[in-house]
Structure formats: structure tokens, C-alpha cells
Amino acid sequence: MNGNRTRLFDVAVIGAGMAGMATSLFAARRDLSCVQVGNGGGILFASGLLDLLGVHPVADRRRWDCPFEALSSLRRDLPDHPLARVGDDALRAAFEAFVSELGAVGLPYAPLDGANHPVLTSIGTVKTTYAVPRSMMAGVEMMRSRPSCLLVDFRGLREFSARQVVAKIGADWPGLHSVRVEFPGFEAVSELYAAHLARAIESAATRDSVAERVRPLLGDATAVGFPAVLGLSRSGEVHERLQQSLGLPVFEIPTMPTSVPGLRLKDAMEAALAAWRVVRHVQAKVTKVSFDDDVATLSLDDVPGGQTIRARSVVLATGRFTGGGLSAGRGHVSERVLDLPVHQPGTRGEWHRRDFLDPAGHPVNRAGLATDGDFRPLSADGRPAWHRLFATGSILAHQDWMREKCGSGLAIGTAWTAVEAISRGLQAPRKAG
């Protein structure tokens, strides 16, 4: 990577969560040379489900079967919402591109049909989401038709009780049953970790043994649900083989993070970025960015003495408080990398509501960077901070992705739109030098 010091990239992406990954991927697909800084830790908290927009307005708890209908309502009510600035066509194209890239590196998703889908969660609630991993799709069909169905859990996997899910929704789904089995090879272990099980079940012997233990318990089940531990890099194969040996559709139920689908997504994104030759600085933090007329210079701390990378455009995809893009002192929220102005409530007393589950949501969750229509963050004077500085994903203001169920849509949609703008801008005549 010695050449990277002098190389001038088209795009430098700061951040490796869902937004950073999507931005890098879309940039690379447009043949823009791309460098990404960040370790991808945030994506581990993903569930594998890719939401577009599930709930709006949050205070009314209104769920939508069609995300695009939800979007037109959102655009009317919240014109500053980042998703209100991404067109339907762009969102459709962005999601198609995103899931087809994941499919190409072995993480297949069910075909997108423009509709939201109900997905049963590990605690027995029903989540509304858009793109569903193929390994979970049979569960969506079961949720809709509710035939006889068996949910399996593994003793020691503490965050998932199949009996709990049945207790929770069994009254509306009489054919739903639960069984608990020992995970082969882990009979003497008290706490099982999903990632360990996922690795173990990639061996044919373990997989067959799981099937043997479940087969006598099937009864009249027409499908079988498991916690999402069915393999890591070979999850497609594990899922397929398990369906064959049980002779029934099999589906995964998303569990608490950090979850196996989160791990799969991180691995798959990394593989996709590698295939598109995105240069990545995984161990680095950006300590400083300086801008001249046409080139930004990022200082990194990954080697002794630091190093710099140069790029013609910069995308800030550093996330919120958990991701480290925003930081909160006792009185003020600030942006970590460039100290950009942060749109925020007046005082800390207004950040959160007194009830954790207040349907209106916590005002601090709508704090973030204000941008123009191309997702260029604004400086204090209301103009773009730099003409080719962009921001994507959850760091953006005027959204509440956790309540609106739009986290992936926000990341993928704003990444798509920002990359379009970058691409347009870079095609404009370059200045000399």
C-alpha cells in the first residue's frame, strides 16, 4: 500500500458501518477509486434484515406494508428527513445493487418485491422490514399463513427461548410449537455463543447431528425455525442442506446482537469491497482532515508517525454515539472528525424523554448533521462546509432510524444519492494541478 501515500483517490470514506460500506461499494461500482477508513465494528450490531422504512409517524406507531407509501407520507410530513431527499427510483436501484452485491459474495437475499415483510424476532415480537436474507424468508411466509410450524432452540443459547416465542404469539398461531435440543458437541458447555454454533454447524457431521436430533420431534410441522446460527461464510449451503435433510423449509430467527447475521454481513461487505478493489485502512482513525481547493488530505494514525491519504471527495459515514461519529459532553453534542455544527436540542434536559418507550421518540435521536440536497454537511454559515464533503447514514439530522425502522434505508439511500453527486461533481472540469 506504499503507493497510497501519493495516490489521489476519487473518494475517501470515513467509517465502516452500514453507511460507510454502502458508500464505498456504490463509489467503486461507478469506477471511482475509493479508500475507506474504519474497522467495521458497527455493522456487527446489524440484524441482517435491511429496513427501508417501516414506521411513520412514530408517535402514531403506524406501520406500513409498503415502504414507498410510507415514504410519500414521510416526504409530506418531514421534508428535512434524509430519506425524503432520496427518490423512490434511487432507493429501488440502491437496494437492488446492494443485495445483488451481497448475493455475489455468498449472502443471498430474497428477491425485493417493493413490500415490507413481517419477521418474527427472537423475543416473539414481529419486526417490519424490507430486504430479508434468504435464510429467513420461509419464516415470513409462515408468519403470513401460520400453518403447523416447529421452533427449535438450543440449551445454553441464553437469548432465545423458543418456548417464549410460542407463549407470546401461540394464541394467534395454534400450530406453533417449540422444542429445546442440545447442540451437538456443546453438551458440557453452559453458555453457548451464536458465533461458535454457526462455525460448528458448517461441519457436515454437526449439521447432520442437529437434523437427527430435530427429525423425531417434527410432528406435523410444515416448516422449522432455528435461531440465526446456521453457518457463517457457508450459511447458504448449511441452510440448503438442513432443508434437504429435514425435508421441510427451514428459517432463521434473528437474535440479539452481536449476532451471526451481523457477522455475515460484515464478512460479506468486506469481501464485496475487496472484489471492487476498495483500499481499506481497518486499524486507522482519521485524526485530521485538511482541504484545499480541490483535494482533501486525511491524516491517519495507523502507523507510527501517522500517514496521510489524499482524495478529491470525502464522505463522513461515522455514525452516531455508538459508532463514534457524534460525541456528547454534559451540555453539547459535537461531531468528532471535523467539528462540524450539529443540529441538536437546546439543553441536555431536552435530549431524552422521561419514558424510555415514549412513542414520540427521544429528541436527541434527531440530532445530527444538517446537509443540502446532495448530503453535503453545512457549516455555521449555512453553506456546504467543503464543496466535495458529504455525509451519509445515521449521522444525518432529522431522522430517528431506530423508531422509524429505516436504518439500512438511510445508509443505502443516502450513500447512493451522495455517490451520484460525487460522480457528477468529479466529471466537472478539473482545475489545473
Partner: protein, 514 residues
Amino acid sequence: METQVLIIGGGVTGTAVARDLALRGVDCILVEKDDVNAGASGRNHGLLHSGARYVAHDQDAATECRIEGDILKRVASRAIQDTGGYFVAVQGDDEKYVGDFPGFCARAGITARPVDVATARAREPAISDKAIAVYEVPDASVDPFRLSLESMAQARSLGARLMRRTRVVGFEREGREIRAAVVQDGTNGTTQRVHVSQVMNAAGAWAREVAQLAGAPIEMLYSKGTLLVTHGRLARRVINRLRPPGNADILMPGGTVSILGTTSSRVEDLRDIHPTVDEVDLILREATPMLPPLETMRIIRAYAGVRPLVGSPSGSDGRTVSRGFALFDHEADGLSNFATITGGKLTTCRLMAERAADLVCRRLGVTRPCLTASDPIPVSPECEWTEPGRAPRSWMSALHVDDPLICECEMVSGSVLDALYQALRAAGDTPTLTDIGLRSRIGKGACQGAFCAVRAVAHLYQNGDFQGSRGLDEIVDFFRERWGGQHAVLWGQQLAQAELMEALHCGLFGEELR
């Protein structure tokens, strides 16, 4: 129902009265509208005062604390950590007060040994380099939950009954006598009569309301105090500010954490008591000169309690009203079998109970003496789980394959949940997740229950203890309770933690949509 003595209020005083009466062979029922220590008894520093805090302005209270502290160290040793305490003055503090302090302590019989500042800072590195004087006193830390739970457990073993979630809604009075109390079950709203010979009102801040139901007015003031919980323990000893009592003067060791407080502000309404952002900031501002690491310390929680103060208003914040306790026999109100014990402090709860029980026994004609100062409280296995470190030791020594860790912050395993569930169940209760939280360390670590509540509920469903939607309702109740202590301290890492909790419980599980 029928009993000799109805005790109203399950705080440190009410449970101590139950223990006292039970030891004297008197039959009693304790009714508590919420749960054990749900009021100020569970929302304080957990400080067993040496008395040194009071020497300058109230020698009687100081002496009382010294004597009662020594007794509790003997009879309630499992609830107490004899940490010792420092009184620390920093530059700018009142030097006359500092100079007078050792003499005042001596007069109250309290050992206050001067410690040179360098030695004190070597032992307690959190103390500021601007410290000018340090005295060592025999302060200690007390777990008020364990104290009340163990007192109540002993009382129950001797025949006393506890009715949680039961509120007194009226009294039936004939002439000078209360014949019965009408109590309401908070779970299903049904009422019943409890026929009584005597009533002891130990309802803490709610004592005025209860007395009013009996037709006996009491003048009381309410002083709200807010405290903070730090992530990790900042000091081994109790660290007191060596100055006249004021805001944020005491840092307490509380197992794996430190507890910092308190504030004092008059309130009129007992409903909706919660810590505010301004109080949190005030505490940090006031305490940082003595303990500079607080400036960057992660705060994981804040909580507020209401001190019941007996007397009439004089100062604006209630701090100048006596912290002594009051026992009303209500004879002047025309009542012969109703009494109120209120005010006071954690350190003197046993003495308050003794005086209250003496009055009740006199009225009943019972002559057996008080045994609470001499008989140690016996071990009750179900009461040990509030102790930090107890659950991890138990789990590590067994390491049983069927005993998974449920709470990873505080290392509480499934067998602890089962033991608590079964103990509550055996007492005829329907245990909730919040009940189990009060009796253990579950949800008290940095994650504040975000992850362990999910595991705990899955465990209880799997045991068949929860049916239908109940477990999810309980997660929501549990979070509401935990959140009440979080929303005023959400900045820095704790805000990131709260965001992660919301991403999980709202983003993925959609619990707000239920």
C-alpha cells in the same frame, strides 16, 4: 384477616419493627404498597454514619449514630462493610470548621484520627491534591436492601406476614380505637379488612397520608435528595467533605460502584420523584474539587429519594430541619392504638423500631424486652444476592452446565433467578422481573439491563414461569424503572450505551410498538 399489630410500610423502619415485634412474640402483618425499600430506604447513600457528619450542629444525633452504628455492625454484619471513612477538607473550605472538627468528635465519643494528606492520597488516590486536612472516622457502608430483607426474613420465620403491593385505603374507627384497616391489593384492586389491635404507621414520607386516613394530622416536610452511581469504584472508604453539610458531600463505596450525593430540595408532591439534569450537574460541580476524577468519570445512573422530615418549615431546603426521628402516639388526636414512627435515618432504624415496638408492647401489655440489639440477624439464603460478588462466587464455585450466566455485567446466573423466584413464590407472591432485580444485582451493571433482561425473561419463560405476553410486559416495566435512573446521566459513553439499548429494543424488537 386478623393480627395483633399492623405495620404500614416496608422500608428499613417497618421491617425493623416487624423483626422487633416478632422477636418479642407479637403477631404482626406488614403491608407495603410497593416492595421492600421502594421509598427512601432504597434510595440513599447506604451510609452507616459514624456520627461525625453531625458533630458540629447536633451532638445528640452524632452520639446516637455512634451507638447504633456499633450495634448494627454486630447484629447485621452481613449487610455492612466496615470500610472506614475519611473527612477531607480542600483549599477554600471553612478552616474554622476544620479546626473545630476533632474536638466536636471527641465530645460525641467518635474517634477522629488525623491522617496526613500524602498518606490519605496514597490510600485514596481519588482525593484532590488540593486537600488540606484529612481525618479518619469509623464510617461504614450498609446495604439497606439486605438489611431490610434479612430483618423481614427473620420476622417471617417467627410468624410475621408480609403483604407486598398492598395499600391501606382506610381505617374503621370506633371511638378512640382503630378496629380494622381496609387494604387494597395493587395487582387486582380487591380490598379486604384486617382486624387489628394496634397499628404502627412506618410509611416514611407517606406517613402523613396514612395518618390522615386515621384522622391524625402530622406536620412533615419532604426533602428530595439525588444521588449518582459511578461506573466502577472510585474509593475504598467513605469520603466525606469536611465542611458544614451541603450538596454532594459524601462519596460512598457500594460494592463495585461508588455512590455520590446528595442534593436537598423541598418538594410538596411525593408523586413523580425523579433526578433532574440540573441536580446531576450540581452534584458533579460540587464534588469535583474534592474528587477531581469525577470530572471525566462515567456515571451510569442517578436516583432520587424523599427524606421525611418531621417539624415545621424553617430553612428553604429542609437541611436545617432535624434529621432526628419522631414517634407519635396520637393520644392527643383521640387515638389509643395508632402510632406513627417517621423521620430519622438509616443508621438509627433499629433504635426507631425499638422505640416504636416499646410503645406498641406497652399498649398491648406485652412485657418482653427488645432483643434486636443483642441477637444477630440469622442468615437467610434468599437475601444474600444483593451483595456484589456473591453471585459470581456462587457461579464460579459450581460452574454447573445447567447454570448459565444471565447478567454478564454483574455475573448473576440462572440458579440465582430460580432461587429468588421460588422464594417469592413460596411466600405466595407472583414474582416479577423488577422484584428479582431488587433482590439481586441483575441490571445494575453498565448495560443497565439492556442484554440481561432479555436473557432473564427467556430463562423464566423456559421454566414455564411466564406465560403469554407477560415476560415482554415485564421487560418494558423493568426498562421503565431502569430508564428513570438513566435519562439524567446520558452523555459520553453512557449515552452510547443507551443508544445501543434503543437500537436493540426499539430498532430490532420494536418494543415501543406494542
